[in-house]
Symmetry: C2
């Protein structure tokens, strides 16, 4: 069986690594905050002292961290993945990072005669736990076929998007829609609430009508209950919208809805809602209409 | 059985009137373009020479026309509904019009000792044909209860939103979300397409992921096939966004996503896509990225 090196044991990475262990793969883990490796060690994982040592041992290296800066450190740092991989190693990054960084890493790994897949996911931590993530993958079809067993263990669906970088692009385009749809919901709620309409009745309408969305399904009830417990933070949404903006700026296409969405989530961050759920962006509107949705 | 006067026999009104006839109600119809009344006459409807004559005869008057101007003419014109209704007449407007006009009509009808409901619908012509429309109703609960049989004949669900005007507000807030969600989809498609991602794979991702929406479900495949056959026209969406803007301007709340959406649909109208389906707004993006989505 393939030996898996797994780097990044956060809310998403830990259950993904755990599912690989449960499926019987030998797994060596690394996490910057070492204590997070303990539960995986209890499940039978080895713990490596660095990304480099993780990569030296592994046939397949999987990384799942939070942003471009962390990924650059994990791969290109002194004891990084690039210092450890051998010819033939397959490297899979499941983080949401910029397509530009994906391409830089893919080129470096190709020079080392390894192969690289950018494979970000959709689905939050329950899906990571259940092994029902959806992966969008950039890289060669042959490489993908060779590691399909791993994706099947961690997820329910794999969508091959094209060459390296296309997984990252797909994720940013996807999350752009998520951000905008959540703002649409917030703005609709605000218009209805300002005129005194009952929020629950309005949400029922949205879900019955052509305004329905996953955003309404996932967040509508929570907005009414003012429950902004973090499922996917406003700060992470803002990060993704900034990456998407950098992408559209770089390729020279207007993305007016994205630009405005980024500004509004930035306002939410500036006002201190960054660590709440992204749906807390509705609080901007509540300040504007002078009342709380659902009250 | 209640005698129904039905005014406005377009794509929506004709099947709604037809369903009332099938349910056995005596129906008198009026349409500005008289030829559209012929199919209803064949099904047993009487044809009146004016809105006034329709109202004189009816216990309940239902109107379904396209905009504020038409409604003002139908109600307040020389041979309009207001000239014909008797004390006790119930008047139901199912058009999408401004809450301000709703309130003006409700006041005039109350003076004539009639009652008024603003009851716009969601669901396009197939739902009108199947009798599965969703009504959002503003007006008194007593009046609504008295005509619930009619709503049950024409639709599958009635949501009482509050006093007169609140049905109209609900519709505008709902369609604001529809417009924004459709732009989110268009912009996501554009970002993906610019980077060469396959549109069908990207749509699959959207629908599996948290970016999913009724917009994606109803329009995604059609955008890929460049099928902009009118289901709900871009011109009508623009009309609704303008009404929603007038509402938010009037109540003094910022609605930045709505404002931008209105500008983009206005661009679509200006470029000549008004009579195509609202999803044709994606053609703005196709011009910007220099390629057609799905090719």
């Amino acid at each position: 069986m393939k030996k898996i090196g797994f780097i990044g044991l956060g809310t998403m990475g830990a259950p993904m690594a755990s599912n690989l262990l449960k499926a019987g793969y030998p797994v060596t883990v690394f996490n910057r905050t070492a204590s997070k490796a303990a539960p995986l060690a209890e499940q039978g994982a080895s713990v490596a002292p660095s990304p480099k040592e993780t990569a030296v041992w592994a046939d397949v290296v999987i990384t799942m961290v939070s942003n471009d800066e962390s990924i650059a450190e994990v791969y290109e740092g002194e004891n990084g993945v690039l210092a450890g991989i051998r010819p033939g190693t397959t490297v899979i990054d499941c983080s949401t990072i910029s397509p530009a960084l994906v391409k830089r890493l893919a080129a470096q790994i190709a020079e080392l005669r390894g192969t690289f897949l950018d494979a970000p996911v959709t689905g939050s931590s329950p899906a990571a736990i259940d092994g029902t993530l959806v992966f969008m993958v950039g890289g060669s079809a042959e490489t993908l076929a060779q590691v399909m067993d791993l994706f099947d263990t961690m997820g329910k669906k794999v969508l091959h998007m094209g060459d390296n970088g296309s997984g990252a692009v797909a994720k940013l385009a996807h999350n752009t829609i998520v951000g905008i749809n959540n703002l649409a919901l917030a703005e609709g709620f605000a218009i209805a609430a300002k005129s005194g309409l009952p929020a629950d009745r309005f949400l029922e309408l949205v879900q019955l009508g052509s305004a329905g969305s996953k955003a309404a399904e996932l967040k509508g009830r929570k907005i009414i209950e003012h429950d902004f417990t973090n499922q996917f933070s406003l700060a992470l949404m803002l990060k993704d919208l900034k990456l998407a903006s950098a992408l559209t700026d770089g390729s020279g296409i207007p993305a007016p809805m994205l630009s405005l969405a980024k500004s509004l989530f930035q306002s939410g961050q500036t006002q201190g809602f960054g660590e709440e759920d992204l749906s807390s962006v509705v609080k901007l509107y509540e300040a504007w209409i002078g009342k709380q949705i659902g009250e």
